[in-house]
Assembly symmetry: C2
Homo-oligomer: 270 residues x 2
């Protein structure tokens, strides 16, 4: 049977997984996807992901690509995968891609979102997907710090590159917003909810969580905005602040170029 | 040591529990609270809850009361409990109550909230706390049906009473709202999120979920609003629609009378 190239948008609750990438031990998103595809197609399938999310990190817009033999429609493949995958992983859309498409190498940018809630009280319905801090965040100061990160920089302080790559990345935007008070998830009125969005051409390993870790030090008053600029200039990972917890992080969206868009225009762009 | 009466607001993610009330087998919210209190006070403690939430149902405003010996402050008890309880149960506030206070019998009303998301796609980051339906809900029709439930009625169609009680309850309000599009929890823009709120003096066992089940039949076009009125009038549980899944339900708030309010005014009223 002819093998075709597929691309899909995948969402998952990463709490129970050791991350996207297959590990020697423990369940991974890639491992679950490959197992489901092998069961459905009868052939071993290798899945590529646009972002190698860490253990406990979530996704609503991860993009994957793979080569697999499948004689039926893409809608059938989507339904069959969702019937086979664990409940905390969902294939949102799937379609055929050009032969040259590769979820990771074809991606032009990734958008990650980090959620924080500030409350005197711990709230179990929020903390699966948001990091808990005690005091409200000074968003203006945090955004002044985040602005230093925008542009092309050496981010060596904030993460490790894959083998053979350098530590220079281009951050297109980075900033915090307060979310509306009456939100999903069971937040009483006195809780403050925040969303940090950061988009870059690509990220180093652990980069978003170390950046959020530094910005939360600004929030706690232990660092000033200029200290974040100094950390960036140091290019020294030994000076990094502790990374923010994985639970708050979510791979939100992956962008591809016009030529890579394939038949369904909005793939990876919801 | 003198035993004092305490009252507390408790929040929990009910996914992993067999419900509030202690069962012969499996973990329960009451069981975890009693175990933590016994560990902290050295004495067996019986916990009363305002609402006996079913297996898988969540709470952000459950109110409990208990008699326990504790020589330190209420703040210390709150901290100690939160350090002892599993992560998916949190004591939000705690304080001393009058000797006559009983979380269940003193309660004047309970507010339950039910969340639904409508999407072509299954979304793992929403479905832990919201029920998934495929098509957007016709809120006007649903609210027309819900209005029939407001007032004092015999709700025998929708649930079973505790031993020795009848099936008459007073529903103070019941209605649906759409939640803002940019919400917590990783909802893409094309997803519709809804919140159903229902407040009553008390609820029968399974009553909210059977009511939501009937209203979602209206949403799917299989029942009209008047059919819900007819179901109510039938007073016959064998005619009930299948109950909506537990994941969407959350005990939001419990109200007490002025005299039962105790020193901290906002207890049970966040």
């Amino acid at each position: 049977m002819e093998t075709r190239i597929w691309r899909a948008i995948v969402a998952y609750d990463g709490t129970e997984y050791r991350g996207f990438q297959v590990q020697a031990e423990g369940p991974t998103i890639q491992g679950e996807l490959e197992r489901a595809l092998e069961r459905l197609t009868g052939a071993p399938v290798r899945v590529q992901g646009a972002g190698r999310t860490d253990a406990g990190v979530h996704a609503i817009g991860q993009v994957i690509s793979f080569a697999a033999p499948w004689r039926h429609s893409s809608e059938d493949l989507c339904r069959a995968l969702n019937a086979t995958l664990p409940r905390d992983i969902a294939v949102r859309r799937i379609g055929e891609a050009e032969a040259t498409f590769h979820a990771r190498y074809s991606a032009q940018s990734r958008l990650y979102v980090y959620h924080v809630y500030a409350s005197q009280e711990r709230l179990p319905l929020l903390e699966r997907y948001a990091h808990h801090v005690a005091a409200p965040l000074p968003l203006e100061e945090l955004n002044r710090a985040a602005a230093f990160l925008v542009g092309e920089h050496d981010f060596a302080t904030f993460g490790q590159p894959p083998v053979g790559e350098n530590t220079v990345r281009v951050v297109h935007r980075a900033g915090w917003n307060a979310l509306p008070a009456q939100v999903w998830g069971g937040a009483p009125e006195e809780v403050h909810l925040y969303r940090f969005e950061i988009e870059a051409n690509a990220f180093l390993r652990g980069m978003v969580r170390r950046i959020v870790g530094a910005l939360l030090e600004v929030g706690a008053g232990r660092l000033g905005a200029e200290d974040v600029a100094a950390l960036l200039e140091a290019c020294d990972i030994s000076q990094a602040c502790p990374p923010a917890p994985a639970c708050g992080l979510c791979l939100w969206q992956v962008r591809y170029g016009q030529g890579e868009r394939g038949p369904q225009e909005r793939y990876g762009e919801e």
